[in-house]
């Protein structure tokens, strides 16, 4: 806003001599792990890269956040352990041997070829996502072919539930005939990631922005019930304020011991709405 830029101009010395460099040691790179487990997906994938320390020289070409191949990546349930193999084309680790079931807890262990180790664990929610109730579909402008969708779902009783509500519209004009593209529809009211803290047993209500209906349209509603790691991680990225000097710093949540990133569990349901 106009006012605050003037204020900061006032506060900031216009004199270059009032700006000086501060000595600081650049840190060590850390391992970044991202992986999600859900019963609905057969292939488990995992991204493994390294963080780039600040306050040292970096080369643009390094910015691709090169993945770390040749690492031992293992997910286990109790005594059963499954090793993930590295796919150099897709640049990720994967497996189809792991069975993911509701209520189970999984452990992750990674050791790189240089001896760095990180570990983590997560639990798949034991309940299925709640039922989505369509409250109404409104046509805001009678002469135009727009719609607004009102929906809600009810939180399960008992605190400690986390959800994600995402709505998309199937894009009819994709590049390839067999590839599905979904455009996100944003919400006027209602948060994408919610926790039931303080709202136990209540309804979470959503109202979308208007979306255009051609001769026909398909809406896809995704409701996931997630664990605390999934929620905290995405919430912290959503809040990430970056360089805003007026906002509190926003550390990105991580449940990776010795590293960054997330290892989280969720269960998702997809509901199709045709117009």
């Amino acid at each position: 806003m106009h006012i605050f830029s003037l204020i900061s101009l006032l506060l900031l010395a216009s004199c270059d001599s009032m700006i000086s460099e501060v000595e600081i040691d650049p840190g060590q790179p850390k391992l970044v792990v991202v992986s999600y487990l859900s019963p609905e997906v057969d292939t488990i994938t995992l991204q493994l890269t390294r963080s780039l320390p600040l306050y040292s020289i970096r080369n643009y070409d390094d910015w691709d956040n090169e993945p770390v191949p040749d690492a031992l990546v293992q997910i286990s349930y109790g005594q059963e352990a499954v090793k993930l193999s590295y796919d150099p084309i897709k640049k990720r680790y994967w497996t189809t041997d792991l069975i993911v079931k509701k209520g189970r807890s999984y452990e992750l262990f990674i050791r790189t070829s240089t001896g760095e180790e990180v570990s983590s664990s997560c639990t798949i929610p034991s309940k299925e996502p709640p039922e989505i109730e369509i409250i109404s579909i409104i046509r805001p402008f009678p002469s135009e072919n727009f719609r607004i969708l009102n929906l809600r779902f009810r939180d399960y009783d008992g605190e400690g539930d986390y959800y994600r509500m995402t709505v998309g519209q199937l894009n009819m004009y994709g590049y390839q005939p067999d590839e599905k593209y979904i455009d996100k529809i944003y919400m006027q009211t209602g948060e994408e990631f919610v926790s039931d803290k303080g709202y136990d047993g209540e309804y979470f209500t959503y109202k979308t922005h208007q979306f255009y209906v051609w001769d026909q349209a398909t809406l896809l509603l995704y409701l996931a019930i997630t664990d605390v790691h999934y929620y905290s991680y995405h919430q912290s990225i959503y809040n990430f304020a970056g360089d805003n000097p007026f906002a509190e710093p926003t550390p990105v949540y991580s449940n990776i011991e010795g590293g960054l990133g997330v290892f989280a569990g969720f269960s998702i349901v997809e509901v199709e709405l045709n117009f």
């Binding site: 204020i7 006032l10 004199c15 009032m18 460099e21 501060v22 970044v32 890269t49 912290s236 990225i237």
Partner: protein, 784 residues
């Protein structure tokens, strides 16, 4: 809780039995300054042979009851000649005293047993800086500031460069109760915190208590800053005026009815909007100003009744406007404090003194923006603030030098307005208004018992019961207060104190920059009152030979339910006030715990040709919030391991005073990014097989933990020289000062700068911005 209440009630009643029903005669009266007849609080009334004494209260009243006999009583106060009284006490006596003040501290005749004795006072953890010393300490741009002087004391730290906020024993600036003539002041800053709103010319006394709080004070966790305005010269019209770089000030005081009634008027204003000069052109205009005004009127009906009316009004305004052919815009922000108190002193008899106060205090912040063009008209008005109306009753009972008691009650209605927004735009048919307001009542009842056993052991046992009701919330907070002083030998005493404090109203302040976007909010059913417990022990030594006072104090303080912002929260939501999210501040804050401990050393010389002090504080302050730093303990931003202040005032001659101050502080603990990384987000809209290749190249920051990094240490030397000249009807002083005399570039904030080196190489550097280089100043002051 019940047990504690019962214990204290029993203790209080059992204490009463210590008092023998002796035949005692009371000597009482008022102590005034000779000439102006200004009532003097805190004057020592001491009987050296019996080793007993008392002091005048806030209104200059003292009372001491003794068995019949001959006594030698001395009335002493820093900056004044001691008055001796030898008498043969046969009947009750009303004895008013006039103390002769000295212009300079050098003139005070110091003799071994007559200076103010630190060791005699059971009140520990209290700082009082003589207002005369504050006028001499060199200050930024020559603007004498009572708060900046307090920041030079151990246990009290300043925030960022230039800020006048007080951080007392690990607590933030929101945890200080700042009262001016009984009225709380909610935003004590001018110019974003560079100066406090208190004009030293209008202040008679200032006392800061940082621990061992007596039961009569409550409502904030960390400190009580009690300021009393001057009443006004009752003999003749007098005053002083000053011209400085930033502001000019004028104080006028004088009698309305000679010896009965007087007034005081003191004002300050910035007169050159020099700070905004660069921005002024024909089309663009902008400016900044602040002003403040202290006013007081009092009437002395006689020894039994006195009436005082005081008020404070102050405002800061920052504004800009643009005017072109096709459009015009204006906007700005301003904040203001208004306080008013009506106080009535009533003396029931020579031993019982009471005061009733009616209190009003109002603080608000306004941000406005208006834009008009040929096809659109937009206006935004944002207001936030707090308004108090209260009543307070205090009663003192001076039974004997061995026992006195104080009791009272207070209730305040708070009207909180965390936000009131009105936004309209003709183009889009926008007409949005939203007001969030709360009404609440905050009350307290207290009882203090002061025992003096054998002249060696003094105990102040008190209890305060606080109550708060707002919206759906209802809180009772019992607060036991205990402090003791044991005289090991003359001139050396050991002190200890324990106090429980609660704070029912909260200040939400953004990352400590001290911007006026600070919000005052009440406790609610979801936000509990903040609570702290503090235990302190100390040693006080009066080194009479050199007129020095040494005090060493160690403290340990725990607090819970303290508020902080959730990560990412920002109250600068003015980008889109009518946006999708409704503004519920309760969702943006989170509660946590604090732990703070340390040792404070102070060596002080309050009078003489050379005076001043050396203070050193070694302290630790840690916080723990479940929702910040993922629940791990972290250093508070204002955690300052070492804090040193050295202040020296030397009266070279009657005409020349030299002064200097040097401060050192460990740097603030801040959160800095240490690395960037990219991390995938889960996206349900991308097919499961695809989403893992769909990399989101966020430049996310790895901060490595909250407040893990220390800024560079802060240190600064200020020096000043004053040239005095006394003429027949007035006296004048020229002051030349140098702020930051060796031009130390202290960090104000850090930012990351990226430099491109060529060949696809880039380096990020951590840089600091400093705001105050060496700054000279000249000011001119006259006293008449």
């Amino acid at each position: 809780m019940k047990k504690q209440i019962i214990f204290f009630v029993l203790f209080i009643f059992s204490g009463m039995h210590f008092i023998f029903a002796q035949n005692r005669l009371t000597i009482s009266g008022y102590v005034r300054e000779k000439g102006s007849r200004e009532l003097l609080p805190g004057v020592n009334v001491y009987l050296p042979e019996q080793r007993i004494g008392t002091s005048t209260n806030n209104y200059g009243f003292y009372s001491i009851s003794l068995p019949p006999g001959t006594y030698s009583i001395s009335f002493s106060f820093i900056g004044y000649q001691t008055h001796e009284l030898d008498l043969n006490l046969t009947t009750a006596l009303v004895y008013d005293v006039e103390l002769e003040g000295s212009i300079t501290l050098k003139e005070v005749e110091v003799t071994a047993d007559r200076i103010e004795r630190l060791t005699e006072n059971s009140q520990m953890s209290m700082i009082s800086v003589p207002v005369k010393q504050i006028q001499t300490i060199p200050a930024l741009l020559g603007e004498k500031d009572v708060f900046k002087a307090l920041q030079l004391m151990p246990g009290v730290q300043k925030g960022s460069e230039g800020s006048s906020g007080l951080y007392v024993r690990g607590g933030g600036p929101d945890q200080n109760l700042i009262i001016l003539d009984d009225a709380p002041v909610y935003n004590a800053s001018h110019l974003f915190g560079f100066f406090s709103v208190f004009n030293g010319d209008a202040i008679k006394s200032i006392e800061l208590t940082k621990g061992g709080f007596p039961a009569r004070h409550g409502g904030r966790l960390s400190s009580v800053v009690e300021m009393t305005m001057k009443d006004g010269n009752k003999e003749k019209i007098s005053g002083n005026a000053g011209i400085g770089f930033i502001s000019s000030r004028l104080t006028l005081e004088g009698p309305v009815i000679k010896e009965k009634s007087s007034f005081l008027l003191s004002g300050r204003r910035t007169y050159i909007d020099a700070l905004i000069r660069p921005f002024i052109t024909a089309e663009e205009m902008g400016g900044y100003y602040f002003y403040d005004l202290n006013a007081k009127l009092n009437y002395d009906f006689g020894p039994k009744n006195k009436l005082y009316l005081s008020g404070y009004f102050g405002r800061d305004k920052f504004h800009f406007s643009s005017k072109y052919d096709t459009w015009k815009e204006k906007g700005g922000l301003y904040w203001q404090n208004k306080t008013a108190t009506l106080r009535w002193n009533h003396l029931f008899n020579s031993r019982i003194f009471s005061n009733t106060s009616l209190i009003f205090s109002d603080y608000n912040l306004n941000i406005f923006n208006e834009y008009e063009s040929s096809y659109d008209k937009y206006s935004l008005e944002y207001k936030s603030g707090i308004r108090d109306i209260g009543i307070k009753y205090d009663i003192e009972y001076h039974h004997s030098p061995f026992y006195s008691a104080r009791a009272g009650a207070q209730t305040t209605h708070h009207y909180f307005l965390p936000s009131a927004i009105v936004e309209t735009e003709t183009n889009t048919l926008l007409d949005f208004s939203s007001t969030i307001a709360y009404n609440s009542f905050e009350s307290g009842v207290y009882l203090e018992n002061h025992f003096n056993i054998n002249g060696e052991l003094q105990i102040n046992a008190g209890f305060r019961m606080a109550h708060f009701v707002a919206d759906k919330a209802h809180y009772f907070s019992p607060e036991p207060r205990l402090s003791a002083n044991y005289l090991l030998r003359p001139g050396l005493s050991v002190k200890a104190a324990y106090s429980v404090m609660n704070q029912h109203i909260h200040l939400l302040s953004n990352t400590g920059i001290g911007l006026p976007t600070d919000l005052w909010v009440p406790s609610t059913d979801r936000i509990a009152p903040q609570h702290s417990e503090q235990v302190s022990i100390g040693l006080a030594n009066d080194i009479l030979k050199y007129d020095l006072q040494l005090s060493v104090e160690a403290y340990y303080k725990t607090s819970k339910h303290i508020l902080g912002y959730k990560p990412g929260a920002s109250f600068l939501l003015l980008d889109d006030p009518s946006g999708a999210q409704s503004f519920t501040w309760q969702d943006n804050v989170t509660a946590g715990k604090g732990e703070s401990y340390g040792i404070e050393w102070l060596l002080q010389k309050k009078s003489g040709k050379t005076s001043g002090w050396i203070g050193y504080t070694l302290s630790w302050t840690q916080l723990q919030f479940d929702e910040i730093n993922f629940g791990k303990k972290f250093w508070a931003r204002h955690d300052r391991r070492h804090d040193i202040s050295i202040v020296i005032i030397h009266e070279y001659s009657d005409q020349i005073t030299l002064s200097g101050s040097w401060v050192y502080g460990t740097g603030n603990a801040i959160t800095l990014p240490i690395a960037t990384f990219a991390a995938n987000q889960h996206d349900p809209l991308v097919s499961p097989d695809m989403y893992m290749t769909h990399f989101y190249y966020w430049d996310l920051y790895d901060y490595g933990g909250i407040n893990e990094h220390r800024m560079k240490p802060y240190h600064r030397l200020d020096i000043a020289i004053q040239f005095h000249k006394k003429l027949t009807t007035y006296s004048r002083t020229w002051e030349i000062g140098l702020y930051n005399a060796y031009n130390r570039h202290n960090p104000f904030f850090y930012f990351i700068d990226y430099e491109y080196l060529g060949n696809h190489d880039e380096v990020s550097k951590l840089k600091q911005v400093s705001i105050f280089p060496i700054i000279p100043s000249i000011s001119y002051i006259i006293n008449f």
